[in-house]
């Protein structure tokens, strides 16, 4: 079971069990989606898996309208990067509707996110921070096959707009034996690996870089405690603070751009609420503050890697 199949299966499950669910997006129908995340779904649910024109703004508007009428639409953006065209409907219409009218908007927008080799500046972006800044939106960033499955199901069940940031690099790279029977609820972070020396907070594909670094440091007798945020809005501050209370040190790792964003928010919370728990200054690692490069070699050093995480962790432990 790959991360991608988990997303497909979650949608299958949702279509099968909830008549309010339908999927709308470019090429999601007969073709099964650019990444095959809706493969065979149109055959089984012909009126509920629908091809959209290349109109991201209208696609999201359509979903909002359908939600008002009691449906639970899933919108697939072909790439997260193209959601910038539907931006206004997402942040201003979907995000503000419940607060303005008391009518909830249960839509899920799937954003195939993050970098892959050779994808370049406009097929690689991680936009979780952009959407998390606006009120009224829930932002999920599943890092495991199990979460890809259970969180997508939860996203659709949630009564509010959810931006579901699924990572394209994990689509095929990540596999699991079976799908989960139980899972943490949205809004709860997970201690992906316990450790006593340093808390590393991360999410999405970066979890695996962090785990790789943790594994390597383990052989040096250094124990990282790794926290997978799972949702970046809301952020589960309690789990983070509890970990920092144990380790006294904080490193935040994210694939998105450095200015603002998840890392800044996590560091700010820990600095405010867990100041006296910290034995050393908190540290952040992000991608470079440039567009995401096309060349595989450039790409591989643009974003954080196990290697750069390892170096940062060592440095932080030296203080």
């Amino acid at each position: 079971m790959t991360y991608l199949n988990a997303i497909r299966d979650a949608q299958h499950h949702l279509l099968e069990t909830d008549p309010r669910v339908f999927i709308y997006g470019q090429d999601v129908g007969e073709f099964g989606g650019a990444f095959k995340a809706t493969k065979h779904l149109a055959e089984q649910f012909p009126q509920r898996v629908l091809d959209a024109p290349i109109s991201e703004d209208a696609m999201v508007g359509t979903a909002i309208g359908a939600a008002i009428e009691g449906m639970r639409p899933i919108i697939e953006m072909q790439f997260a990067d193209f959601s910038t065209v539907g931006f206004n409907q997402i942040v201003n219409h979907a995000g503000a509707f419940f607060w303005r009218t008391d009518v909830p908007i249960p839509i899920t927008i799937r954003l195939p996110s993050g970098g892959t080799s050779g994808a370049g500046p406009f097929h690689s972006q991680s936009l979780e921070a952009i959407y998390a800044h606006y009120p009224g939106l829930v932002v999920m960033t599943p890092a495991t096959v199990e979460d890809a499955y259970s969180m997508l199901i939860e996203a659709v069940q949630i009564n509010d707009p959810v931006l579901f940031c699924e990572h394209k690099y994990l689509y095929y790279h990540l596999k699991a034996e079976r799908l989960p029977e139980h899972s943490l609820p949205a809004g709860r972070a997970r201690v992906a690996r316990p450790g006593r020396d340093l808390t590393v907070v991360t999410y999405s594909a970066m979890l695996h870089e962090v785990l790789e670094a943790a594994h390597e440091l383990d052989s040096e007798g250094i124990q990282l405690e790794v926290i997978d945020l799972r949702t970046v809005k809301p952020i589960d501050t309690d789990t983070i603070i509890a970990s920092v209370a144990r380790t006294g040190r904080l490193l935040c790792v994210g694939e998105s751009w450095p200015w603002g964003g998840v890392n800044a928010e996590v560091v700010s919370r820990v600095a405010a609420e867990g100041f006296h728990l910290l034995d050393a200054p908190p540290k952040r690692i992000n991608a470079q503050d440039t567009p995401i490069p096309y060349h595989p070699d450039l790409w591989s050093v643009h974003r954080p890697t196990a290697r750069s995480i390892l170096m940062a962790a060592r440095e932080l432990l030296r203080i």
Binding site: E56, D57, G61, Q89, T101, V138, N159
Partner: protein
Amino acid sequence: MGSREALEETTAAGGKTIDPLLQAYRWMLTARLLDEKLATLYRAGRIHGGVFMGKGQEALSVALGQGLQVTDIYAPLIRDGAGRLAFGETIHDALRNCLGSPQGPMRARDGNVHRGRPRQGYLPMLSHLGAMISVVGGMLMARRIQGKPVGVGATCLGDGGTSTGAFHEAINLAAVERLPLVLVIANNRYAYSTPTEKQFACHSLTDKAIGYGVDSHSVDGTDLMACRNTIFEAIDQARRGHGPQLVVADLLRLCGHGEHDDAPYIKDQLKASPLGRDCLEVAADQLLGERVATKNQIETIRQEIVESIETAVAEVSRESLPCLTHYDWCSLSTRRLADGVS
């Protein structure tokens, strides 16, 4: 499910049936007088932000509100006071939204023309022009998927709004899906201060319909009877499965963009042209011509309206202010997922 017209006949005050044309006129006049009242309240500092009026657009607006059924969908725009009343909005709700009453439809959170009751198929506009069209489309698509009676979805746009990408994407999508959407464009010659020649270069806005493969209708927006005929026809076509209907009405904005704007840019020549006719006067003449009402009756109606507006202002003014202590700053319906809210 009866049309609003039928409804009116049975529900008119005192059980008396009231002629639909006269009812239209009553809503138009109510909208006009309510706008004037709002302008006064704005100048008196009782309304903050802005007041946007429908002067000159009442005939067009009321026709759409009146042509829809209660189960239809309606997403009006800035200058649709008359249509809102016809679709069922009360004077109280309009005032509440402008005066910021927590009892208003938007509970003082959003204001002025941004009001609606989505559960009743009546949508509050987003400021971003063009944004409502796809939402109405989505409601229609949902009903179709659900296998429910779909009804008609109607929404409005200005000449300026046709330049937005949102308009294009939404009407194109509606055309592809052949949705029963009625899109009424009020070509009132200006978008704020910008004249139509800086907004589009087609001969007539109805030409846009050809580019989308949808039906179009054009109408003199100053003429109530013409508006009713044309818009009822468009609604009917949509209801009978002919896909989206684009209605383009020619008229002139007879006021500033908002109450703060005295609109020096509106050309005298346009004001003096047939476009510059006041649709309210045209409608009154039609009432008299059709012998639906007498001058006296119209005057009585005016007085009744003035009175009901004054009463409503007095009542709404007594409604409570938002309570600031323990105010609910939660933007999600799922409270446990609200970040930093307890």
